[in-house]
């Protein structure tokens, strides 16, 4: 569907924002470009839309090379972070704009605008001024305008970043529902991993102009390719590996762990052991054999609603012995206080080894 080949882009001699990015988006897939701000993800989007020229590399859409095609002949829909609604046109005229540019007759435009308004749940808004809309309504009008000309490919640049948290979650769900219903191939950009997890079929993590990993959300979360991806996804327990004991066991500052077979193969230099925050059981010993007991003291406890977080200093392990865990709040009278001793059991099957980024 969309194929991006070895794209390079430089804004200044010492500022190469894209360093050979290659990427494929399958038909009807929702692919998310995830990365911190300044990693080049928006630039890549603008190059695919034809608003920016790549210094090197090709962009192929349905097999044909569109690298040199001007933006207005690509039929690639782009929704901007600030929506870029035309302030001199009302809601219906905004949505009809693309149809007008494609030469659709008036009756067809009216029909399609009605369809789009229904799709985004804004029936009756046709003649409103776009300045009178709330942020969420503007976002939906922008989506309707982008979808109206039936783009071959939909590009979304931080589609919900300008909205508040509650609305954001609601709109992300609505967005996924709409995109899946229309079966439109979508590439969207965000810096928020929760958004990416909720919306994407696959996620491409970007850093400093390169792709670090492209994977389905669950695989990405379970097996981050390297420490950058792990840290960006919010993992904080990344322990240095001091020594490999055979193919399966690693020695770390907090102890030696037997790992599942599949990880043992990844014995790279500078690799770290990742312990997910939900890989520990508190207080009572679990039944499985793969659990390793640890003892430590609570440094900080924070209540987060359905879960609470503990920062634990393991006994006699120094700086590397600082670990972060999450536990379910349910069934617990009070959180452990600061300085309180705790016993933990770590589930070694959930651990994995990640390469140094």
């Amino acid at each position: 569907m969309l194929e991006v080949r070895a794209i390079h882009k430089r804004f200044a001699p010492d500022k190469e924002v894209l360093q050979g990015v290659s990427l494929t988006v399958e038909p009807q897939e929702i692919l998310c470009l995830l990365g911190p701000s300044g990693c080049g993800k928006s630039t890549l989007l603008r190059i695919i839309a034809g608003l920016e020229r790549a210094d090197q590399g090709r962009v192929l859409l349905n097999g044909s090379d569109i690298t040199e095609t001007p933006a207005h002949r690509r039929n690639v829909g782009l929704m901007f972070q600030d929506y870029a609604l035309f302030p001199h046109l009302n809601v219906a005229e905004n949505i009809a704009y693309g149809l007008r540019m494609h030469g659709a007759p008036a009756s067809e435009r009216r029909r399609r605008v009605g369809e789009m308004l229904a799709l985004v749940n804004l029936e009756g808004y046709a003649h409103r001024s776009v300045d009178d809309l709330s942020g969420g309504e503007q976002q939906r009008v922008a989506l309707a305008r982008t979808l109206a000309p039936n783009p071959t490919l939909l590009l979304l640049d931080e589609p919900v970043a300008n909205l508040d948290r509650l609305l954001r979650e609601e709109l992300i769900e609505a967005l996924r529902r709409i995109l899946k219903r229309l079966q439109v191939t979508t590439l969207f950009v965000t810096h928020d991993q929760e958004e990416a997890f909720a919306l994407a079929d696959r996620i491409a993590v970007m850093r400093a102009g390169r792709l670090e990993q492209v994977d389905a959300p669950a695989s990405l979360y379970r097996r981050p390719a390297n420490t950058f991806v792990a840290a960006f996804l919010g993992f904080r327990n990344l322990l240095p590996i001091l020594e490999w004991r055979g193919a399966h066991a690693v020695r770390t500052p907090i102890g030696t762990f037997d790992l599942p077979e599949r990880d043992a193969a990844r014995s790279a230099v500078g690799a770290r052991l990742l312990i997910p925050p939900d890989a520990a059981v508190l207080d009572s010993a679990p039944s499985g054999a793969a659990h390793v007991p640890l003892v430590g003291r609570v440094v900080a406890a924070t209540f987060r609603g359905s879960v609470f977080r503990l920062q634990v200093a393991l006994e006699g392990s120094g700086e590397d012995g600082m670990l972060y865990f999450e536990f379910r709040t349910r069934g617990r009278e009070r959180l452990p206080g600061q300085g309180e001793p705790v016993r933990l059991w770590l589930d070694t099957t959930q651990m994995c080894v990640v390469k140094e980024a």
Binding site: A71, H72, R73, L78, F86, G98, M101, P149
Partner: protein, 547 residues
């Protein structure tokens, strides 16, 4: 009480020196009774010159406006969309036409492309021609050209400022929706720029409609705008009722345009306040660099070449090489000259008037600004329209009003600085008030929470931020007074001419010597005005002024 007395000052000033003379014009125009008024009006309407003058005034203003927009729009686009080295210099250059007096610019264009102009002299020498190849003197083209020179900065500032605040994503969204570059321009950029284009056009139209010095100096007897005709009727034919009638007609037009302008302007500043962000970026391709380079070059040549030609000609006019003879002549009292004193004394007169203008207009302007800043006070409700009206009133009308209204005061040397102050006052307010309004309340609050008492707060926050605005206002007022021509021509005492009057009189006398003196005096006035421009550019405020 104290405050009320202060706020009453600018209102009192405007009433005596603006409203009263205007009413006097009405009285002269309409005579003692209604029948007399009807008779005078119908006589004026039947006068053969009237419709011709009105027609010329309107069409030259329309054509000038169209040409100005045509030249200004591309430059505004370059200004709005690109960041490039020399942009600051370009912005500063664009202040030059805005502030340069007509009595400098008109001779400057003569010095560049007139019969004896630099360009003609070069071309003649280069191509061995007997006659000057550029024959624009006394044609409408020269007038239109100077009008474009004067007003192009308004289009660039107004439209460019608005354009730069338009998010480029709008045009990009249109591109992604399938609009070609041309359709993007016509369906997105132009409709969005429309209010600013209309505002700029109205202002340009207003200035060209009331054009005086340019027409009087460059048009000779062939061309007359309403403004010029008012002057001729009042001074040459002493037909006061006719002059008064023409003034009323002109006021009707200017007030209408002014009313339209303020409405559009109010809407503009509202939209601009919503998103005051600039989206300019570096040119990305050699083509964009070429466009930027072209704009920069055009601005440099367009603004500077007439002024440089003026200075060069003032030192070299005639056949010989460099000479100071015209400057020396300014110090002598020539036999056939129209002056009572050596022309050089006009420099002193002008500076004295300019300082007096500062002394009057700055305090009044600052007081008026503070009154207006409290937007809900009833002082603001009175002052706001009262301050706008003088902007829509031409200088000649004002001077004419003083002639018919001021009685014995007419001969007072104070009348000129008073008229200058009245003309400068709206500019002072329009420079100072935005700065006052832009003084973010949170800055004062932050200062308070950091321990500044009210006095310290005023001294450390208000004063430094407003000082710049005050300096710019002062520079504007000073430059306006130095270059004021229309009103001064009617009310200045013959024994105390200002620089613009000397220039005009020297230009209207025959002979190379007189012409050379005009150029020399123009150059002196240009240099004096340039000082004001330097001051304005040095202290230019980030939030800009509204005009």
């Amino acid at each position: 009480m104290m405050q009320a007395a202060l706020y009453a000052l600018p209102i009192l000033f405007l009433t005596i020196f603006y409203l009263y003379p205007l009413l006097a014009i009405l009285r002269v125009s309409f005579g003692a009774s209604l029948t007399e008024a009807m008779e005078q009006a119908s006589a004026a309407l039947r006068a053969p010159g009237f419709w011709r003058v009105l027609w010329f005034t309107t069409w030259q203003a329309t054509v000038s406006t169209l040409l100005t927009v045509l030249v200004g729009l591309p430059l505004a686009g370059v200004f709005a969309r690109f960041d490039f080295p020399g942009k600051g210099v370009m912005a500063a250059l664009l202040t030059v036409p805005f502030v340069m007096p007509t009595v400098v610019v008109a001779p400057a264009f003569l010095a560049l492309i007139g019969r004896n102009g630099l360009l003609n002299a070069w071309l003649q020498r280069l191509l061995h021609l007997d006659a000057p190849p550029i024959q624009l003197e006394q044609t409408i083209w020269l007038i239109l050209l100077v009008h474009v020179f004067y007003n192009v900065a308004i289009v660039i500032r107004t439209v460019g400022g608005f354009w730069s605040a338009l998010p480029p994503t709008l045009a990009e969204a249109a591109a992604a929706l399938g609009a070609s570059p041309q359709r993007r321009f016509w369906t997105v950029t132009v409709p969005l720029l429309a209010p600013s284009l209309i505002a700029a056009s109205l202002l340009v139209f207003l200035f060209c409609f009331t054009s005086f010095g340019v027409i009087l100096i460059l048009g000779g007897l062939r061309f007359a705008t309403l403004e010029v005709e008012i002057y001729r009727q009042a001074v040459s034919y002493f037909n006061l009722p006719m002059a008064a009638f023409l003034s009323i007609v002109q006021l009707f037009f200017t007030f209408t345009v002014m009313a339209l302008y303020t409405r559009v302007q109010a809407r503009l500043s509202r939209t601009l306040r919503l998103r005051r962000r600039a989206f300019a970026r570096r040119p990305a391709s050699w083509r964009q660099w070429a466009v930027v380079g072209l704009a920069l070059t055009a601005t440099f040549i367009g603004v500077l070449s007439p002024l440089v030609a003026l200075a060069v000609r003032s030192f070299t006019l005639g056949d010989g090489g460099p000479t100071l003879v015209y400057y020396q002549a300014l110090g002598e009292n020539l036999r056939q000259s129209a002056f009572f004193a050596p022309p050089i004394t006009a420099v002193r007169n002008s500076f004295v008037y300019a300082l007096a203008t500062l002394a009057i207009s700055l305090p009044l302007g600052v007081i008026a600004s503070y009154a207006l800043a409290q937007s809900r006070s009833r002082w603001a409700a009175i002052l706001d329209p009262l301050l706008l009206l003088p902007l829509g009133t031409s200088a000649v009308t004002l001077g004419f009003g003083y002639i018919v209204a001021m009685g014995p005061l007419r001969a007072s040397p104070w009348l000129a600085p008073v008229a200058h102050s009245l003309i400068a006052l709206p500019f002072v307010v329009r420079t100072f008030l935005p700065a006052l309004r832009a003084l973010d309340r949170r800055l004062r609050e932050a200062a308070s929470t950091l321990g500044a008492d009210p006095l310290q707060r005023w001294w450390t926050i208000d004063a430094p931020l407003l000082l710049r605005a005050l300096l710019i206002s002062a520079a504007f007022a000073f430059a306006i007074s130095l270059g004021e021509f229309g009103a001064t021509l009617l009310i200045a005492r013959p024994d105390r001419p200002t620089m613009p009057l000397v220039i005009y009189r020297a230009l209207s006398q025959p002979g190379l010597m007189n012409y050379g003196q005009a150029l020399a005096m123009s150059t002196i006035l240009m240099a004096s005005t340039a000082l004001s421009i330097l001051l304005i550019e040095r202290f230019r405020l980030p939030q800009g002024e509204e005009f």
